[in-house]
Amino acid sequence: MNFQFVLDNLAALTVTGLTQGSIYALVALGYTLVYGVLRLINFAHSEVFMIGTFTTTIIWAALGFGVGAAAPSTLGVLGLILAAVLAAGAASGATALVVERVAYRPLRKRNAPPLIFLISAIGASVALMEAAGAITNRQPRGMPSLVFPKVQFSIFGADVTNLQLGIIFSALLMWVGLDTFINRSRLGRGVRAVAQNPEVAALMGVNKDRVIMLIFILGGAMAGAASVLYDVKVGLTTYSVGFLIGIKAFTAAVLGGIGNLRGALLGGLLLGVVENYGAGVFGNQWMDVVAFLVLVVVLLFRPNGLLGESLGRARA
């Protein structure tokens, strides 16, 4: 155990943790939205993220920025990232939508019980992952380095790089947009109504199918955006990349209070930071254990997550 290391590098560990946490948070939004409305752990969401990571490599290669390419100018970097966010967001959103159509909608039409949805979700997840595995030959796919971290400033002795800043900032930006949309817009209120009582929501004139499509697209797009950030940060992806991130993101969503967008953000950031501390204290290999222990402890004291549930709340 190495508490000294953590104490000495608290600020630095926090910054890296926040960076990782931002990605968790964005992915967590997709879980939280779907869970909030359908009470379904959308296992396939991790694959929605995975599709995003590959889309990024493909779009970059298409734009002439393949493996071995030299780093472009700042403007070029921004352009590439923007293109990737659009492409990955679209691809991930579309994947999420397809999953909804193929794996969930038929079940909804038959009014299947929740456990069945879960199995279908698992099926969709496995199928997507393995399809990607078969296509990529299960080989990881690398991509050129886009952003070389440069220290921008330091706070409390922590060097903050442009990469970290960019990731945290973009994640926050996207979260704010989504949160405003759900809480302020009429459609957002429709989402919450369907979450709480789908039948009565229909009686209020809410188009349930449209709402569900919407949350899948929004959640998917967020995961797509997260996948770009991940790619820029890690520079490598494989067909199974989603599994762990997915589990972590779902944990983050539960930690913050599932069905609660603010909770997803808080949970994501917190999870990123705490597991980073944990890794510092106990060693890298214990990182996941720390993450789950934090979850259990939090749930023991706050059984509905840190901020409680909000989209859904117990159905009447």
């Binding site: 290391f5 590098n9 630095a12 890296t16 960076t19 990782q20 493996v67 071995g68 299960r138 080989q139 990881p140 690398g142 050129p144 380095s145 070389f148 971290p149 940060k233 890690v234 520079g235 490598l236 992806t237 494989t238 199974s240 990349v241 980073n276 890794a279 510092g280 060693g283 890298n284 290999q285 990182m287």
Partner: protein, 346 residues
């Protein structure tokens, strides 16, 4: 109509390490069958994906096929530890061309043979090379907690002793090494020793270099394959030092390198030549009429002879005679892995 088996990874992230070996063995068998059309030998492939957990089932299936007299492999140390007792209990002759963990010859598996030096030589070899040739002072040692990786890393640690300033563990199939990279950079290490396989080494090194890490990268045979360079990217991999208790294939005797190229369409890589030799020992035994497991075992135990890599003679515990052990250092240069020199092992 006897059979011998290849036992190792043909799928998964480290598949290339197994494929090199399979192709070497296959070349030997094909050549043998061409020369002895009247009594052919079949090569059975047992794909373990490099996963020890699958090894016991595969080993069982090997022993149950009474036609299988011997194996080339198991290729990795982890799977060997599981499979060897099973194979050996039923008398299947084992010649591994690659599993280098020293403890494998101490398990009491009577049919075990190792056609090359082990990590008790490779570890010190790598460490001495770092100390004496590269002149590094502060080494960060990383292992993947596998039988092979941890074993090798421990050997290196012992030899470097005070030169080790930190250590870390990576997980199998880990892809994101952010925290580890940060810790290494914080530690001020001038070199990294990697005890593990290429599947994790490639993305690690890539991320390490991207994050501005300057430390020199040294790793063992588990990383020595072009797939590593490809995965890490030629820029990141440039200058990495890789050790291996294997002979550079181009230095192998006879026409091996050329034959391999014609047969498979690509260059021979790590352990292809050793596998070729291992298979040939078994094939010679079979040709000499040793078509039961017991007889073949006696034959291999008493075998002496020259292969394309070295001169073979096995000790009682199955390890190769110390005189035949050679550890080489390689480096990545211009995207290619090239041999540097033999390194002393003590």
């Amino acid at each position: 109509d006897s059979k011998i088996a290849f036992f190792g990874a043909l799928t998964g992230g480290n598949a290339q390490l197994g494929i090199n070996i399979r192709d070497g063995a296959k070349l030997a068998v094909d050549e043998y069958n061409k020369a002895n059309a009247n009594c052919k030998v079949t090569l059975v492939e047992k794909d373990s994906a490099g996963d020890p957990a699958q090894a016991s089932g595969l080993a069982t299936s090997v022993v149950q096929d009474a036609k299988i007299l011997g194996t080339v492999g198991p290729a990795f140390s982890g799977e060997s530890k599981v499979a060897n007792p099973i194979l050996s209990k039923e008398g299947v002759v084992i010649i591994t061309p690659s599993a280098t963990n020293p403890a494998l010859s101490k398990q009491g598996d009577k049919t075990f043979h190792r056609a090359l030096g082990n990590d008790a030589s490779q570890g010190p070899g790598a460490a001495l090379y770092m100390k004496n040739v590269m002149k590094v002072q502060k080494t960060y040692v990383i292992d993947d907690a596998s039988e092979y990786g941890k074993g090798l890393a421990d050997q290196v640690k012992t030899t470097l002793a005070a030169g080790v300033i930190g250590s870390g563990v990576v997980k199998e199939q880990q892809t994101d090494f952010g925290t580890l990279v940060q810790e290494i950079n914080k530690s001020g290490a001038d070199s990294i020793f990697w005890g593990g396989y290429l599947r994790e080494a490639a993305p690690f090194l890539k991320q390490f270099r991207e994050a501005g890490g300057k430390a020199k990268f040294v790793a063992g045979d588990g990383v020595k394959d072009p797939k590593f360079v490809e995965g890490a990217g030629a820029t990141a991999a440039e200058g990495a030092i890789l050790t291996c208790p294997c002979v550079p294939p181009e230095k192998a005797g006879g026409t091996f390198a050329a034959d391999y190229k014609t047969a498979t369409g690509h260059e021979a890589s790590t352990y292809s030549a050793e596998a070729f030799d291992a298979a040939n020992i078994l094939l010679q035994g079979i040709k000499a009429g040793n078509t039961t497991r017991e007889k073949l075992e006696t034959f291999v135990d008493g075998y002496t002879g020259e292969g394309v890599t070295t001169k073979f003679k096995f000790q009682a515990d199955g390890d190769i005679d110390p005189s035949a052990v050679a550890v080489w250092a390689y480096t990545v240069k211009g995207g290619q892995i090239v041999a540097l020199e033999r390194t002393p092992t003590s």
